[in-house]
Symmetry: D2
């Protein structure tokens, strides 16, 4: 018995499927104005950030998640200069955006300034100095109202790294048709929006609904996914675009653009991986269907069951 | 509370990581001479076969596992006619082999005849009539001693679908250098062996050790992996070959061979998936290293900790 | 890993406290018209009956529960002749009542005739032939409507062995003021009613509310409790009486009445135990207070949170 | 899902029975030279001290455990003046001893001085100033070697509040025949030793073996037990005595001695409780037998499976 850990985080991936993962150490445990924050050392995933009891990212594969979130849209856009990141308090999303020399300004909007301070201090390998980049403008604010306050056609790329759209959750209004309509107006020509889109393996309905909802606003959409071990899931991403889509890029084109734009330091993403993610996502969703719905403010307010 | 199931299978993926998955119904619960057999309906994975408490395959993705096990080596071999399957009692492995019209004889060796009877009756959608194929020779016997009793150069392809090489486990001797030496001799020119190779995400050391051990015997080896949701894992496969390797086949060649050999009914595998599996496996193992060891009969007998 | 069981029942004792108990074997798994029935062999408690995922009684200590339910009221009543048992499908409650030679008629009312058949066949050591007693009248019916259909002053003792009063649950209406008023009228002079009353350790509010609700109808009430290992709890019982209370009986009087009435075969209950249960219950409830409420049909219908 | 806690301590009560209890907050998490220390706020038990992942005592019922450990022997001894406490780092054991005005000196020996400092600061309601009592001599040392270094006939009462005798564990040598022989010599005439004795409900064999081992040394022994909700168990205690035993005291005598000796502030223990604990323990052990063994240094060193 002695060899098992005693403290576990129990995370329900669905109503009938739970993962128990053992902790080695709790480095920080506190509460900001908005959420409960735990920074833990897990046996299986290394250091991890846990918000309100849900693992957000872990040392062993945060780069898989963050590279997969950021690079497909950044490489698809012909020349992204103005980038907006909503959420992403760990600083790893902006870390990936900053790999592009052509980017001139990054606006990061996160509700929880206290969380950012905690993470910068306790998990510096996530941001790796990203908060010091002179191109970064950090805004502590609610993402939707911030975006609504911006002039139209402000950004080339919008990257949504918010928590899941669980019913009544604070982030749910970042996944509705109304929000995407606003985002659409704030994007310049050729603009793209990518959002994390929940677990394809355990919340397929949510994933497909996000893509369908984007499709109500954007002329083109696609979805893709990647295995994130610390999420015990295939994690989904959804893209809405005014012009090109990541799914239209070949692996060779991805390689070429990585090279041409001087993107260095990638640990996971590549042309081959790009193709692999789209191929696998297509095969999985073909086999595992689900009914979908269009997410709207009204449905969110009335507490739809996702 | 009422919405959660009450009966769960608790499976430890590592010493500190457990999955609890809820059951809807237990269709069969018994014990053969060799193992405890449960056939259950899970909430998340549909029907599933559970041996000694470990989920072996589930309705929702058994085809992902079985297609990924069988087709890479079958398509790599220029003309597989004699195939040996060790294990695979569910009948889904031979189901995939039987898709090849060019195969003349399939020998399936499984220790547990009672299990085969149970599965044929209770999970007929796994074998889909595969046990009735006139090319099949079913042998109820221990795989290693059976193989030792065969003349040399008997098979074109050997497919190992046994339980994991946990220390002292009955199947552990199907993963040693000594076993692979025997298998090597039983393979004809151009022959390949593929074995399921444990969880890449949760037993990386075992996966890499199996590949390394194959490398002590075969001139060429490769590994690949696929996400199997019901295993909560990326599952690994390892190949030893006398000639070509699946990793050397392009997606286009895979597509062409699937067409040329008349392989029909695939739900997951394809040329694009083939490339995706190898790309992702390479990226994951590059980032997640582990020390390896060469598996030998002696080490197995002395109870090494894998 | 091999030494732990793989199948567990997960039972939530509170919203934040779960017990996982390992199963050795599932002897029966089915569904009657009213509930899911599992008969399992647990590692820690021996054979057990599980209804809708909740352990109802286990080999290792069903006698502790059933003796504690039945004997305090039976011994308190000066001469119980007509006894009504509501629930108690396992047959162990009537087994205890039948130990009294002076009892002339036992009416057992249970909703689920199929369950009784299953339990008689699969768990015969619970009833030990109790269903064959010629004094028994078995009625398959809903307990409350049955009782309402009886003439007033029909019984000396009413024993309630129903499932817990969880909100909206089928048994909830067997714990309201309205039900107890009916029961009161059906009791003869000196009549007593005892009901199982949920977990004192994990649902103290429910336990105390049941006693308080009885107090709205009966001139005298008391509560007591006993440790039931297989419930991982101190289990509560509540009594309403027209005359004497078990709490007023000394251990010596209990011993004397056991002897005088020829009660044989007790494995747990005795005069000393009688005193112990009341002493401990008093000490525990004194230290662990809880707000209570009066249970009414209206509150049950509106779904109060117990 | 939101209503359940996310962090749990998983404690195995047996090889097949686990309890998961939810945490509200981790107030302290660190490691002394000897053990991992967590001070947590649980949902069900209030504040709790957890050592090496095992809950040691909790706000909701630490007084039940500590009063039950201390008072039976203290009241049985005709006039306890010199008391030795081994273990009990929380300070609650000495808190109970200090209720006796007649006690002249209390020696508390605990290995882990750092733990004592942590607990005094973080859980002051456990010791309630007990460490400031002028009669207390606190010795940071290993209990067995300390006792061996004392002159014979030094104490009236020895109270053992150490961790469980799990195989190879550091405390195992505080439960052997050899240790009890030493303790016997250090006790004055009429001397008694009490030790916590593991879970009667989940480690009955350990509990009974401790009593049997005491019986190899002391002329008189007895065992008793009490329900401790936060241990999810009936917890056992074992007594060895040179003269009187707690089991020989009536409830009335207990009441009288509590009064005569001016013991004030008890929340649980009383004459009635005293009788109840012995009655219930007798009934439980009568029904739940177990094979026992005599614990010796040699058996402990060779790693017997308790």
């Amino acid at each position: 018995m002695s060899s098992r850990p005693s403290t576990y985080i129990m995370e329900w991936l669905s109503k009938s499927l739970a993962v128990l993962y053992g902790l080695e150490e709790i480095l920080y445990s506190g509460r900001t104005r908005y959420q409960k924050v735990d920074i833990v050392r897990t046996k299986d995933y290394g250091l991890a950030l846990v918000l309100d009891g849900l693992l957000q990212s872990a040392e062993i594969d945060e780069f898989i998640y963050h590279e997969s979130l950021v690079h497909p849209v950044m490489l698809t856009h012909p020349n992204p200069r103005e980038v907006l990141v909503i959420g992403g308090g760990e600083g790893a999303t902006i870390r990936e955006v900053e790999r592009y020399g052509g980017v001139e300004s990054i606006t990061m909007v996160d509700l929880d300034g206290e969380l950012i301070d905690i993470v910068r201090e306790k998990l510096p390998s996530w941001s790796q100095g990203a908060f010091e980049d002179r191109r970064l403008k950090l805004v502590i604010s609610e993402g939707r109202s911030f975006l609504e306050s911006q002039p139209d056609e402000s950004y080339d790329v919008i990257i949504m790294d918010a928590t899941d759209p669980v019913e009544w959750g604070p982030a749910a209004k970042l996944y509705t048709k109304e929000f995407y309509s606003t985002a659409y107006r704030k994007l310049k020509r050729d603009g793209l929006l990518v959002t994390q889109a929940s677990s394809l393996s355990h919340s397929l309905r949510t994933y497909l609904s996000i893509i369908r909802t984007l499709g109500e606003v954007f002329p083109k959409t696609c979805g893709y996914s990647v295995y994130v071990k610390s999420f015990a899931s295939i994690w989904g991403f959804a893209v809405g675009s005014k012009a090109g889509l990541p799914s239209e890029l070949s692996g060779g084109e991805v390689e070429e653009r990585i090279r041409d734009r001087g993107v260095r330091g990638l640990k996971f993403y590549s042309g081959r991986i790009h193709e692999a993610l789209f191929s696998l996502t297509e095969a999985l969703t073909r086999n595992w269907g689900a009914e979908t719905l269009i997410l709207t403010d009204e449905k969110i307010e009335s507490g739809i069951q996702l």
